[in-house]
Symmetry: C2
């Protein structure tokens, strides 16, 4: 075992090398040993834990989970935020903030950014503070009671991005195909849906059907669709595209939804899925398998669940 004098010396060398950016030769001259000895001291300092590298990536992001997730699922980007013990509400704040910062970082002038509705996407919009000049489009109608949220997301994004906006003032899912067709012929809605193919970056929430944690699920249940869809293996949804466990999309109610279709979604150069909480893991895995999403911003619970699912 190394004595305190030697450890102190190693600490000094480590400090001079890493903190002060001295070269090994400088340090060697300074304390009168060869540069090779300095090199070996630095190695041993690392082995013995005298120097440790603390890597953080800021308050929010967990660097290793992020990279693990990105590699494991072949994602374009993955940001994992917060601690696994956080409540869903706290996790949503973290995810929203990180996703907002990510958008600020990656959105370029001329982009067309699409948003679904949902609480997490609402949080993203809430944390948006600056954005390159771009147009914003709703990727679907509004689900859930808090109807205003869906529109509010676009409004805030538009105010910050400064470009044009195409909100969709309609429910995400309706009772029958005829109603859906009628809505889709509404001039304002039609104009919005025509923008789908121009979208270059999508921000989408993921909803879980098993266990149920989705506003689309709630709406479907009210309309009486839910059980049949569950029987067909639906585990989650993105926008209004239902997905089964292996990633197969299920089009049963496509004629009753006002939202971007799976094939159009897949053509968007980058779709970022936001959402946290371990309960959404199956749904998110299915969405990735379905090829609907390219990047994720999530929390540590969901990330760990995804990484240990099998």
């Amino acid at each position: 075992m190394t004595g305190p004098e030697e450890r102190l010396r190693m600490a000094y060398v480590a400090r001079r090398y890493y903190r002060d950016d001295a070269t090994r030769s400088e340090i060697a001259d300074e304390i009168g040993v060869s540069r090779f000895k300095i090199a070996r001291m630095l190695e041993r300092a690392k082995d013995q834990g005298i120097i440790k590298f603390e890597i953080s990536a800021g308050d929010l992001v967990d660097p290793s989970l992020s990279v693990d997730l990105q590699k494991r699922f072949g994602l374009r980007r993955a940001l994992v935020v917060g601690a696994p013990g956080d409540t869903d509400d706290i996790a949503r704040e973290y995810v929203g903030k990180a996703a907002a910062q990510l958008l600020t970082e990656i959105v370029e002038e001329g982009d067309v950014v699409g948003f679904t509705s949902g609480r997490t996407v609402y949080a993203v919009a809430g944390f948006l503070e600056s954005l390159a000049r771009c147009d914003v489009v709703a990727l679907g109608g509004v689900a859930g009671q808090a109807t205003e949220h869906g529109v509010e997301i676009l409004r805030r994004a538009q105010r910050i991005a400064g470009g044009r906006m195409w909100p969709i003032f309609a429910p995400l899912v309706v009772r029958d195909p005829a109603t859906a067709r009628a809505l889709l012929h509404d001039p304002l809605i039609h104009e919005a849906t025509s923008q789908f193919q121009r979208v270059t970056k999508g921000v989408v929430a993921v909803g879980s059907w098993d266990p149920p944690n989705s506003q689309l699920y709630d709406a479907a249940r009210e309309l009486g669709f839910a059980d049949k869809l569950l029987a067909q293996g639906v585990v989650g949804e993105v926008a209004a595209t239902l997905i089964a466990d292996g990633g197969k999309t299920i089009d049963t109610i496509d004629d009753r939804t006002i939202a971007i279709r799976a094939e159009t979604l897949r053509k968007i150069p980058e779709v970022i899925c936001v959402g946290g909480g371990a309960s959404k893991a199956r749904a998110m895995r299915a969405a990735i398998a379905a090829g609907l999403i390219d990047s994720v911003v999530t929390d540590a619970s969901l990330a760990r669940e995804l990484l240990t699912m099998n």
Copy 2:
């Protein structure tokens, strides 16, 4: 400000470079950028605090205080241990342990190691666990009530070092010169004091007279010397050598002490002074100024006090 994607990337690069020892070029190929960009990312990661270097030197030693102290006072070695808030007792344990480890590290076969008495030196001996084969010598008589301590130090050191030992069974200070002379003519004591010139490494405690924190001071007070000596400016002592603030040694009671003399102490190649607690700062500073000690093992309180004294 940098976005989370970029920070994550920087964290990843930092991890690969510092933790995994990947070369900049490897990382560059891996993520498809130039090695120059990697270099700049690492620089910025350092600036932005994404990577931090945590340097510890083990549980005991405070690396920066140690180096500061060593440089400020031109010491051969300085080890500063523990936290400034520690009590004297805890600090003594830390100092003792660190000094013991230091001895283990630096004592070589054939050395002759001298010890004074004192509680801290006793702690040093208590923590000694291995030592190159060497002889051990008491550097003076015993002060304080716990007479056995002084001898116990030598016994333990001898048992671990395996060489010869020369303890001194006598008080550190006596009432009058005649008593001192008589003791110094005692064959056992004479044999011990004859070893002083052979000593190659000394371990000495420091006693403070102002404020009083010294067993020699207590003894001197009982014998009625103390006030006169304080009037002469004594602020502390090493072995039985009294020292005034600027480092001047005061020989008033030298003819009544059984201990190594200042000039002999100065000839020892390395004298290590052990002791902690801010109250001993003046005494230690004086001992350094007097050229009686070459290295120190102390605690954070004393070190900070020394560094801020002026």
